[in-house]
């Protein structure tokens, strides 16, 4: 379980279409950390998040819609003191980077995960570190 207590991890399987609305709802005071998987896996019905909010109807591109969503989410989470983590696919090309406070770029190899700071509030960009797996990654029964 890699240190994660499954009793304290709530999973919400939202359809891609309503992901943004669900994410805004989930950022309540019930959770300290909300992780949102934004980009669909390859081969799914929709590659990018498809929002049907008013901003989308005004003819904005999906990247612009996503940017607006991230800004709204940042404001809402700041109100209730929730940390939001967005998981995005590094291979997807965006017209502009998402407006986040901290961007970490992860690269996985067979025996380690390489973490690189892509954006940081105080400008400490480029720091990198490889974290090797002590055990094999994945689910593990202990006890």
């Amino acid at each position: 379980m890699a240190g994660v207590d499954l009793n304290r991890l709530a999973v919400v399987r939202s359809p891609r279409k309503g992901l943004l609305r669900t994410a805004v709802k989930v950022r309540s005071e019930a959770f300290d950390v909300v992780v949102i998987d934004i980009d669909s896996p390859p081969g799914s019905s929709s590659i990018a998040v498809d929002d049907e909010g008013p901003s989308r109807r005004r003819g904005q591109s999906r990247d612009e819609t996503l940017e607006v969503f991230v800004r709204k989410l940042a404001l809402l989470t700041a109100e209730v003191g929730v940390t939001a983590i967005l998981l995005t696919d590094a291979t997807i090309v965006r017209s502009s980077p998402l407006p986040v406070a901290l961007r970490l770029e992860l690269t996985r190899t067979e025996r380690a995960i390489s973490v690189r700071v892509g954006k940081e509030r105080h400008g400490r960009i480029g720091l990198a570190r490889a974290i090797s797996f002590d055990t094999k990654p994945g689910l593990e029964l202990t006890g």
Partner: protein
């Protein structure tokens, strides 16, 4: 000694009639009684007599028993509404049910608009330094509860229902609840008019002609000579004059499943309008649940549709099971809002019924004196119920490990709060001394909830292939898993190959 709370609702019928109006002009009403000639506004005639008038209409000289024609001659902008006696009964029943939170037995009288509550032995729960008996606090809370339901009321506590009702009816408007101390009923009745006694109208007139205007005047008369003049109700009246009121209460028995209904004059077709109606129903339902000390585990919203514009069934039922018991109005509304927003209104809605189809006893949670209540525990049930209403069942939960090797079956989603099945250590795959479910093979980083079938197997470029058999589950066949390059995407996929049928699926994706 019994202690009875009486709640008199002086404007109940006017409030019911005004609930469907937008303006606050002069209003009068006619009660539609079963078997009577008046059924709705269309059946009103000029010579129909008014049953009640609002204070504004009264200030303009209108009185009950006046005909509609004469009332309109005096006040042209008078609006006359019909209130069904069943609607009055329903409103009084609702108040009874809500007030059961304060006492064991509730009762009501349809003609006088009075609700009684037996609070014998309950007042000490509201005791404080300023109110050693607790009855004044109890009465104030009862009044606040009824006013929360948008009903004006006057409240009194006494030893019996008749005395309490009489004191409540004759209290000044806006005065605090009147508490008659135990054994002081005789003194409390002394200043009240003789109309509060259960006497026939001609007896009251006769006594008035003799100069007997208050109960105190009758109390001074010799009992033996008085009793011969009081008719059939002499025994009751004589006991009341002595301050003895042993009138029994006819207990109100609430229905097994509470429900609230709103009937609309004009059909509504917009979600926002429907939500507005549902909010009122949720508020009233929450009060009913509070009276029963119960919480809902399944809600039903029945929408009665306009028959003329409905091709199919004339009603729609939104059935909403709740993952956690809910009792607050805001919680129920949040769940119903999610459900209604994803619902298409096919025809104008004329009636809306909110029903609690299943409920459980509301669990009391003791609060710690110094440690604040965890916000998550308060917010999570509502949030989960809201998400399930929006996304459907089986989409919100926690992960539970299962005794499987296959990456996409190693965990499954279970409802939040449901008991977990522990995986027995003796059954896990024996390839690790720590009882690990892991294999030595490379595994996918992203698993798909639904596998994608691949038609063109010939185009697959398989890199690594491994076979799997879960001998501890009793599966007789072997599955092949492979890393394969999918050129059309392009990406490296984790594919499953079924040896028996030859079908191939993409189960997940690899990094890089």
């Amino acid at each position: 000694m019994r202690r009875i709370v009486a709640v008199w609702l002086p404007f109940l019928r006017i409030e019911l009639a005004r609930s469907s109006l937008l303006d606050d002009g002069p209003l009068a009403l006619v009660v539609a009684r079963p078997g009577g000639g008046v059924k709705d506004e269309r059946s009103l005639l000029g010579n129909t007599r008014l049953d009640e008038v609002c204070p504004e209409a009264r200030s303009r000289g209108l009185r009950p028993r006046q005909t509609i024609a004469s009332a309109r001659a005096r006040c042209a902008e008078l609006r006359v509404r019909v209130v069904a006696l069943d609607a009055v009964r329903e409103a009084l029943s609702r108040i009874c049910e809500v007030l059961l939170a304060f006492g064991a037995t509730a009762s009501f009288d349809l003609e006088s608009n009075v609700v009684w509550l037996d609070v014998t032995g309950c007042a000490h729960l509201y005791r404080s330094e300023g109110d050693l008996a607790g009855e004044a606090t109890l009465a104030i809370r009862v009044q606040a509860f009824v006013e929360k339901m948008n009903h004006a009321c006057r409240v009194a506590i006494a030893d019996g229902p008749r005395v309490a009702a009489a004191v409540a009816r004759l209290a000044a408007s806006g005065a605090p609840p009147n508490v008659v101390p135990t054994g002081e009923s005789r003194a409390a009745l002394r200043g009240l008019p003789i109309a509060v006694l259960p006497l026939a109208e001609n007896s009251i007139r006769w006594l008035a002609r003799l100069g007997m205007r208050s109960v105190g005047d009758l109390q001074k008369l010799p009992r033996q000579s008085l009793s011969t003049r009081l008719g059939a109700s002499a025994a009751t009246v004589m006991a009341l004059l002595d301050g003895e009121d042993s009138t029994p209460l006819t207990a109100y028995v609430p229905p097994a499943l509470p429900e609230e209904t709103a009937t609309l004059e004009y059909g509504i077709e917009l979600t926002e309008a429907l939500l507005f109606v549902v909010k009122g129903l949720s508020d009233r339902m929450a009060l009913r649940l509070a009276g029963r000390a119960m919480a809902a585990t399944r809600l039903e919203l029945v929408l009665g549709l306009d028959r003329a514009l409905t091709p199919g069934e004339p009603h729609s039922v939104l059935n909403q099971p709740l993952s956690a018991p809910l009792a607050e109005a805001s919680e129920m509304l949040a769940v119903l809002r999610s459900r209604i927003e994803s619902f298409t209104i096919e025809a104008p809605v004329l009636t809306v019924t909110l029903r609690v189809a299943e409920m459980v006893a509301r669990a009391a949670t003791p609060l710690h004196l110094f440690v604040p209540e965890a916000k998550a525990e308060r917010a999570l049930p509502r949030l989960v119920a809201e998400l399930e209403a929006e996304l459907g069942p089986g989409r919100v939960g926690t992960l539970a490990l299962t005794n499987r090797w296959l990456p996409h079956e190693r965990s499954r989603l279970i409802p939040i709060g449901s008991p977990r099945v522990e995986v027995p250590h003796t059954l896990v795959s024996p390839d690790s001394p720590r009882g690990s479910l892991l294999s030595g093979a490379v595994e996918p980083t992203r698993l798909l909830v639904r596998a994608i079938p691949i038609d063109d197997r010939a185009g697959l470029r398989v890199r690594v292939r491994q076979a799997s058999a879960e001998w501890w589950t009793g599966e007789a066949w072997t599955r092949d898993f492979a890393m394969a390059w999918i050129g059309s995407i392009p990406a490296m996929a984790w594919v499953e190959i079924d040896r028996r049928g030859g079908q191939t699926w993409i189960r997940g994706w690899m990094d890089g």
